[in-house]
Symmetry: D2
Subunit: 341 residues, 4 copies
């Protein structure tokens, strides 16, 4: 069986795992105050081109989104997001559970348009009764999006400008950041991300770690007393160094970028293979998630050798499906799959 | 100046006020345990045709919606509502502040369609990942809607059936219930409302009271320990009898219905007047809110003698406006306005 | 029957009621943006000696406490209060429901000691792990306290200083402020209260209004976007002028102070009467609540002519009881009661 | 340097680590629906003597407490706990952040007394105004307690009975359960714990795992839709099998019990050593945490070779200190330390 269900089916990249083993017997103080964690913070800020910033390590994406958004918003504030945003659909109401509305705007291939955001904010402040409405107080985007698509550099600049005009922070969910940075025809670097948004996170769980996400900000004043808030959300890891160790390794010898490139290049090979065989794209993704529309009988046939997800309810004759690659996917996996279609 | 801004610009209906004066000097125990409140509960249940139910009195609509919805939903549950619903737009995020998502479906002249609700719920349960999504766990509709429109008896039955199929409660926001019951060509009675939904409230604030809303349910087991929850939300009135006294009066000599009929008949006269002069309806409302599209210069001219609200941002040449009637509106007010258009 | 259960058994003071009747038919805009409310704000600030402050009107005490405290605290913050504080005992968990811990310190006749507060805060910051504890971030006191006692001017200065040292706000719950200001041997004026704390509220419900509390602050920057937060808590009154009208009247012709003096002088007469007959005080209160320890058979006997509350569980032979006076209590009521003991 | 600061300074027990390495390259579905996790659940239920129960795996103790308590309590409910309880002191307000009050009763060497709980609950229901107070709706105890002490079997039965009488669940925080089960003169087994409480958790983080806690209940109906609540709290681990794999290993070949016995036997040796040298116990603990009162100069001297925590603020001449052992502590560590005192 070849696995394309998602990018969290396997353990950590071997280099990360090796580092955890090497350090397993060492004694350090808890809660992320150890030297491994400090070193990881330093490395990440340097890679992001941030002179005076802060990094916080957390365990998972939903947790990270909820805590960051809870910190950035005041009472009565909402977060603008695409209607397909992970926070709007697949986080079980975690944002609302912290008391905040998600202001969902229509997605354009998974993305928000700067012009839509600007228009929403203007209309809001033009409304006489807006003090009894939910204030749009931050923007959430994901890079890449839940549909595998990415923002161009210009698009990010556009959204960043809207946020600056409105005086509200831009937050980027980078659960699959490695794959976004390695995207086909992508023109966005880690430093671009770090400079254009106010807070973002570098996804570890889906990009080669056992688990872990690194929240990065060039404006640490936006996250006051964040350690206490993390604890309050039950997200402080006692053996906090586990996160520092993993991220240090991911940012050693360009590993994080390599993992992204590896998975994306295989995903693109897979895309070409399907296109060459005449299959239709469900959406044109330049990253490690690939979406096709397949005849239902073809799906049944492929299920015998590969596991992957249906993307939405089953259609009469054909159904969208998703294939995902990660560090563990091999060239051989792709060949095997393509030979079967 | 003639006032059509809304239906809470003036004090209580004189009969209600008189009753408050008459009882002002009496001593009773607090927190709604007095005899006035018990009598009001009894009368309301009787008018609603409910043998074994419960009534709770609160001070305002946003408060009522937040407390009832907070009680009906479990963690991780959301409430299905129209995208134009008061809870979705004009309550400052009060529902989300209790931790719950509003699942907004497209409105049809302010109303939800039973078929849309059914489809949403089916799709939800067909989704493999639904346990990590927000569960649609109740339905909220308003009667009349925020656009002055009303559901027909058949439409209410349809939505009620969807809810029963799904095993989730139907809640009706009756902030302007008096006007809905008196609607032009309406076929829905108070008993229909009480029987088709699980919980609803009879609006007092906008229908002749100084303030106050009466939550009614024929299924008291849906609101366990509701007194404590009301207190927790800071909504327990020390001199609770003020609510009982007002509602007792509103349901004496058919006053509540009369107030509705009075305001609606004047609103319909106003509608006819505008139509006869060739103005266009923004939406065709059978209740005490009337919406027209007026040329901007006509709006300016009318503002000299009448106050009313623009309904949305000002257009280039014409703009939607709203006129609202209530117990204090007179035949003469309508005549004066119509003579000026 | 003579009523001493509490100070919210009867309607509004006749002067307040008269003003509500006079204004009942006027049309004004809603949500407290009317001229009555603006005038009340202006009068109150002037009476408080505040040049640049803000006043917000709410409906009840629990609601007021919850909203103010929710506004003053950040995530992870707690409020220091006496263990007998209303917020700690009788508000159904309303403060915790907004996510905040009440840090209860031992009461001294219902009061907090400045020295206890200082010690708690020092120990907190001396604790190495304090970032994983609840930060003491404001102080709540009531004036008068739940036991009818009052702080002296010096005591208030002491607590105010501790708060200033720690950089945290002092909030005073003035549910019964009229009676505190009129207390026997009291040396605290309204201007003292307004100047020594950061935010407080002037209780209306228990001091002559139908309902209503006025939140006052000389530091409006502490309550940013407070209107929106009030709406989010469901506490925005549609006919907001009802609060402005009542408070304007309470601060006309010294009415608020007169109500306090009337009730306190009768309460003190009642206290003297009990003392003269040899009864023991449960606590020595200088305000409108009086607490005695009475033999159980005497309690039974008095219950025939007067209603009042047992203060705690019934004892073997004697039980503490409470008698409360308000604007409606008459000299004759006291004489009747005293003649029966 | 020898480390006695706490029991989360080092990675996982080698056997656990080995298992993570062995399974690292396997592909499994996410979110804890894999076979490893199912096997761990089965093993744990069997070890607990539970025929029809449920197990849920989480990442840390504060998170676990917050989610379980949030699930067990209704609106307006509070949790009874010792004033020294971890949830009351060291979880940054995580419980209050879910809206619930901690009803703190005085501790007796870290423990709650059944009689105190019973008395509190009785008084509550005897109070006429209890519906406006926080309802005591569950009991939280830790085993061992935060002071290293343990409940006897009889004491657990006593508390369990109080809970049953009151119809409320008993929840046990087993962050250090391995050490409690291995306690000197302890008479409580894992099956006892599982049978006497309603929900508890088996601590992994402090007992040999990299991280992880296993929530166990013999009454799965108490935790409805718990998966969704875990997700809502951001605590669903994408690579959920990491928890299943670790706990499977901890419950293979009696490893969990062995880790407890190893650490406790060394802790007791350490205790004897200190006692024999004439030092005073701060509290008499039978588990892996040992507390002594040491002269300040002795503390300084020991700090040169060992790290450990002061337990509270530094005294004038002497100060309480804590030494903690775990799977990584060696006989040699103890000898070295004892030779220095």
């Amino acid at each position: 069986m070849i696995y394309f269900d998602n990018d969290y089916m396997v353990g950590a990249h071997p280099a990360v795992m090796r580092r955890l083993i090497e350090t397993n017997g060492l004694h350090t103080i808890g809660y992320g105050r150890d030297e491994f964690t400090k070193a990881a913070e330093k490395t990440i800020l340097s890679e992001c081109g941030i002179a005076n910033g802060a990094v916080y390590f957390l365990e998972g994406g939903t947790q990270t989104n909820a805590i960051v958004i809870d910190r950035l918003l005041d009472h009565n504030d909402g977060v603008i997001a695409s209607d397909t945003a992970h926070i709007n659909v697949h986080e079980a109401g975690a944002i609302e559970a912290t008391g905040h509305k998600i202001i969902a705007l229509p997605n354009h291939k998974g993305k928000l348009l700067a012009s839509d955001i600007r228009k929403y904010i203007r209309n809001f402040y033009n409304d006489d009764t807006h003090r009894y409405m939910v204030r749009p107080a931050m923007v959430y985007i994901s890079f890449p999006t839940e549909l595998g698509t990415i923002y161009t550099h210009d698009e990010l600049i556009g959204i960043s400008e809207v946020c600056r005009e409105a005086g509200i922070p831009l937050y980027i969910d980078g659960a699959r950041l490695a794959y976004g940075l390695a995207a086909e025809s992508g023109d966005v670097s880690l430093k671009d991300i770090a400079g254009l948004c106010d807070v973002f996170y570098i996804g570890g769980t889906k990009c080669g770690a056992l688990f872990g996400e690194a929240v990065v900000t060039r404006r640490p004043e936006l996250l006051p007393r964040f350690d206490s808030l993390i604890k309050l959300h039950g997200a402080t890891l006692a053996k906090g160094r586990l996160l520092g160790i993993q991220f240090s390794q991911l940012f050693t010898d360009n590993l994080y970028m390599s993992i992204g490139q590896h998975a994306v290049s295989l995903a693109l090979k897979l895309k070409s293979g399907f296109i060459n065989k005449g299959y239709q794209l469900y959406i044109d993704s330049p990253t490690n998630q690939q979406f096709f529309i397949l005849p239902n009988d073809k799906i049944e046939q492929l299920k015998a050798i590969a596991s992957f997800e249906l993307w939405g309810p089953k259609g009469e004759e054909e159904t969208p499906v998703r294939f995902v690659t990660d560090w563990s996917t091999t060239d051989n996996d792709i060949d095997l799959l393509l030979s079967a279609i």
